[in-house]
């Protein structure tokens, strides 16, 4: 095991542990803080995958903006602790989730060993490559995302402004 492998294992344990924290902490604030740790861990994993730009965007967009938004909304609600954080048929839902997880893992792990796609390293995808692809091959999708964000902006404003019910 090289240092690369050790770093990978540490990062994956941190990310997965924090992700488990997200769904198991009864207090939603702690869930959100755990989510921030997961996002940071994944950003570090993008670093190990030589996707530096994505790592930065992951930190800026997810850890820096989306999760801060979550934390902010939760703090506005001031939910210290929920009386019953997990849904009624807690056991059965966990059971279902566990079965789905086990089945998927049973499918994924053999499949991933069959289709072992590790190619020889030539050169990593640089930010310049990423920008070139984004603004040539995927430029239509890029524009569509722009329109989507505009629509979301208007929609979020409309939702936030509405007082509920029909207002004159």
């Amino acid at each position: 095991m090289g240092s690369y492998d050790v770093i990978f294992y540490i990062l994956s344990i941190v990310s997965l542990g924090a992700a488990l924290g997200v769904i198991f902490f009864p207090s939603p604030i702690y869930s959100a803080l755990m989510l921030a740790i997961t996002m940071s861990g994944l950003a570090a994993m993008f670093f190990t995958l030589e996707a530096y730009f994505l790592a930065g965007v992951q930190l800026i967009v997810y850890a820096g903006a989306v999760v801060v938004l979550f934390v902010m909304v939760l703090m506005l609600f001031d939910l210290r602790k929920e009386s019953q954080p997990f849904s009624g048929q807690k056991i059965s839902n966990f059971f279902k989730a566990g079965i789905i997880a086990a089945a998927s893992m049973a499918l994924i792990i053999p499949l991933s060993t069959v289709f072992f796609i590790r190619t020889e390293k030539t050169k990593p995808v640089t930010t310049v490559d990423l920008a070139g692809t984004l603004f040539t091959k995927y430029v239509f999708a890029f524009e569509a995302i722009g329109i989507l964000l505009l629509v979301v902006l208007v929609g979020a404003l409309a939702l936030a402004k509405s007082r509920g019910g029909t207002h004159e």
Partner: protein, 386 residues
Amino acid sequence: MGADKVEIAINTVKIAIIFLMMIQMVPLLVWLERRGSAFIQNRFGPNRVGPLGLMQLLADAVKFITKEQFVPANAVKFLFLAAPVIALVPAALAFAAIPLATPIHIDPFHLLGQSWGPYTIEMQSVRMNVGIIYILGVSSLGAYGLLIAGWASGNKYSLLGAIRASAQMISYELALGLAIVGILMIYGTFDLNKMIEMQQGPFSFQFMGQAYEISWLPNWGIFFQPLGALLFFIATFAESNRLPFDLPESEGELVAGFHTEYGGFKMLMFFMGEYGHMMVGAGLVTTFYLGGFQSPFVWQTYDYMLNLAIAHHGPGTVASALTTGYFLIWFSIKVGLLLWVFIWVRWTLPRFRYDTLMDLGWKTLLPWTLGNVALTAIVLYWARAM
């Protein structure tokens, strides 16, 4: 030249030294802030303890440490104690990526009957080719310290301050990120060291296929991107929660905002975080727009200084270290001047109202930064296409 244990040890010590340097700047800045505010407001300021009141820092530190460590009854204890540390981390991490000077080259030498290979010590904690992205990403985590502090205090003023802080930081991060897009387009790199290299020499550019050179101006980013520099500097004020953007702790409305319940050393750590953000901001402005550690009006600086040092001390480690020291002094001068501007602005301008703050962020800074990006793109297209 492989990385042996000595090199790793040197680098570890260096990282600690750079961090401690940043922390040690805080008392000095506090002194400068108090004396500077007194100067601006025609008062004396702290002048009793030691010459010019310089020993006041030590007295303050002793006072901070010996205060009672107090946790309010309503607080969430773990998060309350963790928040000051979390507030300190992003600034420290971001500062690690800013290049302070040229690297020191240590020649091979003999010690204890062994020969030690040549070493190169970078004058920054981590040299990375995506420095800007890293700094922006890490400093966007700065909102957490304030949010957690405000919420965990169990005090409504703290909570209001924290929510203001996070909304403000998210809003101004947009302007901050877009303001440097212009400079990124011109230099075409995320690497801070390369960026500094490109700012060497006199002001020169290509336009319509012709090369122009103005020999009395340095080749700094601020002359290519004056608007971008101004917008970036304004946004760094908001990011470090300094007046006129210190709505999170505006004492007229919110007692002391997010750190109302904090006292003693915990309060000092918030201070360190704030001054750390200031230093990162000043360092970034220096690196992007003011030529980094390069000195103005001495073109081909690095070779010139190195040759000068070699002429006096002969080639080797000493010459390299002297050159590094020269650049470090220039970096400190530039950052110091910018920090003084931070303090100057704080004691000159009044605070914004919250709605005017948001208006400035979203309706003024954002359109101007977008316009700057578009203008830069058009000019670059014309200038480079011809």
